[in-house]
Symmetry: C2
Subunit: 438 residues, 2 copies
């Protein structure tokens, strides 16, 4: 058997501990598949004395994690610290400058600095891999880069945040409201004490930017990803969607299109959608993630699995290490960084589809007429309208009015909402969720 | 850009035509992803003059396809002829002996001769790839060999035959019987004029043998794969399953286990199962395939997509070619052929689970007592029993009795059926379908 692949681990949180446990538990299997053993030379984390339930005594310790990239006994640095900038980014740069490979689970860093880091890795002729950054244990980056490599991908989308999916599917099963389920998820450790990144869709947006770059061969560009989270979804919305044959899921959706001038444009959006019950994403429950890619020859592919957790994430990290051990130094984004296309963002206005709109209105005559008139004036055609129940908005009682539109441009819906803006009839801003049909 | 990867195509049926169209339509993208162009040097098929809707004039023609492997202008032979033996096998052997790589969609040949061919490819240090042999366009072989490479896989199973899944889900949607739906599928070209390989489970068994070898690192062994097809599934069974919360799917299931002596044993079976409606495989409709793999760190992964058709299958063939163009010569079965473990077949008797049993019985008193007594004597505990409707069996009227057992060993069910064997109360052999819970 050949020389071992020697790694350094930066960050010993949940995932770091998982990587150590996995490399130990499956060592013989990993060596057979990789063609050589994968060994840990050195480790670093913020707090050396913390008990992590794994024996670290065999590994050299560095207080300054950036040093890991410069150690002569290290071939690959595994960065599990997180954060778009700071020590993680400094470590990544140092690692490539020292001519070593990097494996990371850090979606924020890849979303913000992926292009720079890919160029550095390619210049150094070393691997830069981040399977664990998207959809946990699901090997979806490999599937897009290699498995579906022969295809022009038209569209890539999916359920990219396990916390949101857990909350939405629990609301669905129990009829409880968002805040209540979030608090429970936090108590159980399924949601962070500061859940902003998850529930406001930013985590999913990071992952979407990575997926779309790999799927379309475009330069990764996180800035224009529009993100709306799930805070405003009510139990009543879920019940209403269910009655209409839909489930509400937080969907990250990316598509390329040609504009009027023939220029390629990139649409990237994370927002809660109504997913038709015949669509495979409708049945993805709990903390599970799922990604759909549509290719011009392969058709629709679906990949589903655990989106987070130490075991699944460690599985993705070590798969990257096995690839590196086997000599795979592919372009990080499937084609060389210099050849990635710089696509301008696409506007959403001319996109067409059906939408669900929910208004929280004052309980008095004429409100419905006002809303439907705005729809008519903006050219939005209503397929069905449901006035249902009362909801307490602060201290006042209000009524929920939900509707599903016929297929039409998103710009018309935006115009209708603009016409209603500031109307005293509305007790809260309307909620718009687009519809994903089968 | 580097030298092109030069291929030869043997077989110009649906898939062969798809490969040519894909290589032409996506040529620029493929060259960028592969790092070099993929070009066709030579082709061969049974009938030169047949119109295939693609222009073949640019490619050298060989009447004898076995010659393709020996041409100096060919780096990789793509075998799309089919058949476990005959010209396909001769071509594969010649190709490796000439030191060239082989890509194939031929599940029968890989299932029967995969071990020999892998050893030949490894000796010649060339690639032998067969992503298209299992589950059409779904990159599931790559997912198991590489994406989930860090895991011990405990179980791999799925819907591996699109024709059967189309027939079962059409029976489900329409309430029609098997023969009727099969005839329609044949008329529409979804099923072969001789559908034996598909509907008797042999095609799925070939694919299962390939999947289990890669998932478990065992020497591929098609012989012991037990296969039962879907011919005997009645519309009444589907209706009954639906009432109980299950869908009927043809499932290929492989698992390894340790026997009493600590020896590893391999269980491989294809048969129709009742799949609980909360299991993701329950919602896989039409000609779609789906594979589930359960790893000791990653948990449950699901891969879903088109299981057949020229576009999806060509997508898998060309993905293999791109890997080869990028220099990937991995062991065909993930670990070297000589290291693959020779696992003895496991018997099904001690497997435990719930099962659905359906009896077609004479309509007279005492029949139910006879059946339930046999169950009691064999130690099979009945959870629910439904006596339902009449069915014409040949010229005689009979009654269907269906039951679901409690969890128990499969050997007890076999014993109960043995006790009932030859009983004049049974108008037809009983049908047993095991149950896949969520």
């Amino acid at each position: 058997m050949s020389e071992p692949l020697r790694i350094a681990l930066a960050g010993l949180g949940t995932v770091g501990g998982g990587v150590i446990r996995l490399l130990e538990a499956n060592a013989a299997l990993i060596a057979r598949r990789a063609g050589r053993p994968i060994t840990i030379s050195a480790i670093s984390a913020r707090n050396r004395s913390k008990d992590r339930g794994v024996d670290l005594s065999a590994y050299a310790w560095e207080d300054d994690m950036v040093i890991l990239g410069e150690r002569p006994d290290v071939d690959v640095v595994v960065e599990l610290v997180g954060g778009a900038d700071g020590p993680a980014l400094a470590l990544a740069r140092t690692t490539f400058e020292a001519g070593k490979a990097l494996v990371t689970a850090n979606k924020a860093m890849v979303a913000h600095h992926g292009l720079e880091l890919a160029a550095k890795a390619e210049a150094a002729k070393v691997a830069f891999k981040f399977e664990a950054a998207v959809a946990g244990g699901i090997p979806v980056i490999k599937a897009l880069k290699e498995g579906a490599a022969a295809n022009h991908i038209d569209r890539v989308y999916g359920i990219l945040n396990g916390t949101c999916n857990y909350i939405l599917s629990t609301m669905e099963d129990t009829g409880r409201d968002f805040a209540d389920v979030l608090a429970e998820a936090q108590a159980k450790g399924y949601a962070e004490s500061d859940p902003t990144f998850d529930i406001d869709g930013i985590d999913a947006a990071h992952k979407l930017a990575i997926l779309s770059s790999i799927a379309f061969g475009t330069a990764i560009d996180f800035g224009p990803v529009a993100a709306t989270g799930i805070r405003r979804v009510l139990a009543a919305d879920i019940a209403q969607a269910d009655a209409l044959g839909y489930y509400i899921r937080l969907i990250g959706m990316a598509e390329t299109e040609l504009d009027a001038a023939g220029q390629r444009r990139l649409f990237q959006r994370v927002h809660p959608m109504l997913v038709h019950r015949d669509h495979p994403l409708a049945h993805v429950d709990g903390a599970t993630n799922a990604v759909v890619a549509e290719g011009n020859f392969v058709g629709r592919l679906l990949f589903q699995g655990a989106g987070a957790g130490d075991g699944p994430t460690a599985s993705a990290v070590v798969a990257d290490l096995i690839d590196i051990a086997r000599g795979d130094i592919g372009a990080p984004f499937s084609i060389p960084a210099a050849e990635l296309e710089k696509a301008s963002p696409a506007s959403s206005g001319h996109r067409t589809g059906k939408a669900y709109l929910r208004f929280t209105v004052a309980d008095r005559p004429g409100v419905l007429a006002e809303i439907t008139a705005a729809m008519r004036d903006a050219g939005v055609s209503i397929e069905s309208l449901i006035q249902k129940g009362r909801a307490a908005i602060g201290s006042t009682e209000a009524v929920l009015v939900a509707m599903v539109t016929h297929e039409g441009p998103e710009s018309a819906i935006a115009e209708a909402l603009r016409l209603l803006e500031g109307s005293p009839s509305l007790a809260a801003p309307p909620l718009v969720m687009h519809i994903l049909e089968d």
